[in-house]
């Protein structure tokens, strides 16, 4: 069977996988960004012990493979009475791990803010929460755009691990097709091209976002 003919027959089948990959990647990326911001806020606002807590958390997730929390949440949570759907378990694991990385990215960008701005914020009587929301966070997010783009690409590719807990995202889809048809080359080449497309799209998105910032 020619490649073109194979794509014509089985191409539409990939839409399910593409959908799951996109949904889990976008959902987990948004969740991880919010979680990363929360971790940053905890680090900045709770003194030394809060910062140590966040450090320990980051170490824990940075030094373990992401498949571990995926399995842990998927297989262990039902035992404590939380039988969540696979996509929720997988998404949560991705959020927990990428949130740790993102909080570190954001922390690096805090240092790029000129210290004197904190004097200025204090001098106009801005409370810590307002300072974080209006002064720190907007600048930190903008300075972090390129690094956040990289992290999102990594996250996007890590969604392939969700195949391990029965989510029919792209990689799983290709595996199923291979099992059905025996056409391993075709099945996985199409998936590779689709990943390439998704990743390129993500990169373009972040580059455009970075360029759209007017004040830099």
């Amino acid at each position: 069977m020619s490649f073109a003919r194979w794509v014509a027959i089985y191409g539409p089948t990939y839409l399910t996988g593409l959908g799951w990959t996109a949904v889990t990647a976008v959902g987990a990326a948004c969740g991880a960004l919010i979680w990363g911001c929360v971790l940053l806020l905890i680090r900045l606002s709770t003194g030394r012990w809060g910062a140590r807590g966040v450090d320990a958390y980051v170490q824990l997730f940075r030094n373990t493979p992401v498949l571990l929390p995926i399995y842990l949440i998927y297989f262990a949570f039902p035992m404590i009475g939380l039988p969540w759907p696979a996509v929720v378990c997988g998404g949560l694991a991705l959020i927990l791990q990428n949130g740790a990385y993102i909080s570190e990215i954001l922390r690096g960008s805090v240092n790029a803010i000129d210290r004197v701005q904190f004097d200025a914020a204090r001098s106009i009587g801005l409370a810590p929460w307002s300072t974080f929301r209006k002064v720190v966070l907007p600048q930190v997010l903008v300075y972090s755009i390129p690094a956040l783009g990289n992290q999102t690409v990594l996250l996007l590719k890590d969604t392939s691990l969700l195949s391990a807990i029965s989510i029919t995202e792209l990689t799983m889809q290709a595996k199923l097709l291979t099992e059905q048809t025996g056409a391993a080359y075709e099945a996985f080449i199409v998936v590779a091209l689709l990943y390439l497309l998704l990743v390129s799209g993500t990169e373009v998105f972040f580059r455009v976002a970075h360029r759209a910032v007017r004040w830099r």
Binding site: V116, A120, R122, S123, I124, G125, A127, K134, P138
Partner: protein, 251 residues
């Protein structure tokens, strides 16, 4: 009025302020001059509590600022919320402008009124426009700080400080970082404020400007006010030898 009494501050073993006494009357402009490292900027930053100080007291219209003495005699900082309320009675302008780069000029000016004083959007905007018009920058309202010259940025910083409707304006070497041709426009704004009779404390190296706008000049050396008097007294008839030496070097 502001009353500073016995203000002392050390950074580690270095004594930066060794007992400062200074009164500033309503509507008065006082200039602080002295060699770099003499403590004049630190004094300014202590007045609005950007720096803590070790002993002494500062009063604004009779209210003791920043510290409270408990019945047991212990000295304690006021709460953060209280400090914020007190700080809103003062505006400070920094040497390096310190504008928020990610906000438009108008938003820089609005930030304090909107989020520290909880003024309504409409009211804050009207105030912001009025103040920017006053410093001659209404046309740059929706621009960003990076698109402005140093002089323009500093004028925005003055508008931002005025937006809190402060009783006193603290000016920390506000023209030192500017190119010479931009100094005039910033000084003009300060001149225009004299008719408002707002209290001002300005740390400066520009002696000519200090002579022109200040009612009194304080000369600081080694963390103490060595000589205090009218501009003519300080600049034309200095008594202290170190002040004479300082003036000789500056001129």
């Amino acid at each position: 009025m502001i009353a500073v009494r016995g203000l002392q501050k050390s950074f580690g073993t270095a004594r930066v302020l060794r007992g400062i006494d200074l009164d500033i009357a309503d509507g008065e402009v006082v200039a602080l001059i002295g060699r770099s490292g003499c403590g004049k900027t630190t004094l300014l930053r202590c007045i609005n509590f950007l720096e803590e100080y070790d002993t002494g007291e500062i009063r604004l219209d009779g209210e003791e600022l920043w510290y409270r003495t408990t019945p047991g005699g212990a000295r304690r900082r006021v709460s953060e919320a209280e400090a914020r309320r007190m700080r809103q009675q003062m505006g400070i302008v920094f040497q390096q402008y310190n504008l928020f780069p990610h906000m438009t000029v108008l938003d820089n000016v609005l930030l304090g009124p909107r989020f520290a004083q909880r003024v309504s959007v409409a009211e804050a905007e009207a105030l912001g426009r009025r103040l920017l018009a006053r410093v001659g920058l209404e046309a740059k309202m929706s621009g960003y700080p990076a698109q402005l010259s140093g002089g323009q940025q500093q004028r925005v910083a003055i508008a931002r400080a005025l937006a809190m409707r402060p009783k006193v304006l603290l000016l920390d070497e506000i023209t030192s970082a500017l190119d010479p041709e931009l100094v005039g426009e910033v000084e003009d704004v300060i001149r225009s404020l004299l008719s408002d009779r707002i209290m001002m404390v300005l740390v400066t190296h520009a002696l000519g400007f200090a002579r022109e706008v200040a009612h009194r000049i304080a000369y600081l050396a080694d963390g103490a006010i060595v000589e205090l008097g009218s501009p003519a007294d300080i600049l034309d008839r200095p008594k202290d030898p170190s002040l004479k030496e300082f003036l000789r070097r500056v001129r």
